[in-house]
């Protein structure tokens, strides 16, 4: 069945999946570096899943830990929906 599908149109848009932290060794995951971490958050402050961000498992793990630490230190928001 897999073959059949292959024969027909295989118009798959394959995006190159590279983990950003693997590709660039100079990029460190640090919970104090909110600027970098913010890139991996949605507008609502949720952590972007691995399937979207294309991170490898190892770095995603480090990243989530860093984000959670940054949240503790009020560098990143837990949520944006605050009515203060």
């Amino acid at each position: 069945m897999a073959l059949k599908r292959k024969k027909r149109r295989r118009r798959v848009f394959r995006r190159r999946r590279v983990c950003r932290f693997c590709a660039d060794a100079s990029l460190k995951i640090d919970y104090k570096d909110a600027k970098t971490l913010r890139y991996f958050l949605t507008e609502r402050g949720k952590i972007i899943p691995r399937r979207i961000s294309d991170n490898c498992a190892k770095h995603q793990r480090e990243l989530t830990l860093a984000i959670k630490r940054a949240r503790q230190m009020a560098l990143l928001p837990y949520t944006v929906e605050h009515s203060i």
Partner: protein
């Protein structure tokens, strides 16, 4: 006792005068040193906006302190921070299981990171990502 390398990152009340910030720093350094630890660096990051209000304050005065100490000193340090009203929040992270004073000398002095505004770091520019989809097997289409 085995020395480990730690860092303590804490937020002080921003409304206090500068000498109050310094006296908190001195107190914490004193706690580490009297407990047999050594301070590697003490860098005040200055006033930054908090992502959410803490104790009704929207700004915080961040300080990063790196030190080496035994593992039981952390409890004592954190107890001091918890008791001190001037400390809004703190986090202590173990950087390394072993402390090597020689390696510290070679390292560059720690500096305050550049003020992070909303600009994205160059390495993470979004347009890098787009346009990378390679269209394969287009000739298959009839």
């Amino acid at each position: 006792m085995q020395l480990r390398k730690y860092e303590s990152f804490f937020i002080l009340d921003p409304d206090l005068p500068e000498d109050a910030h310094q006296s908190v720093g001195e107190k914490m350094r004193g706690v580490v040193e009297s407990g047999g630890g050594t301070i590697v660096s003490y860098v005040p990051w200055g006033k930054k906006k908090l992502a959410y209000p803490v104790k009704k304050k929207t700004y915080g005065y961040y300080v990063l302190m790196e030190f080496a100490s035994g593992s039981d000193l952390i409890a004592e340090l954190e107890r001091n921070m918890r008791l001190d009203e001037r400390v809004l929040k703190f986090i202590t992270v173990k950087l390394d299981d072993e402390f090597d004073p020689e390696a510290e000398k070679e390292k560059a002095p720690r500096t305050v990171p550049a003020d992070d505004s909303d600009e994205e770091p160059a390495a993470l520019r979004r347009d890098e990502e787009e346009g990378e989809e390679d269209e394969e097997d287009e000739e298959d289409e009839e």
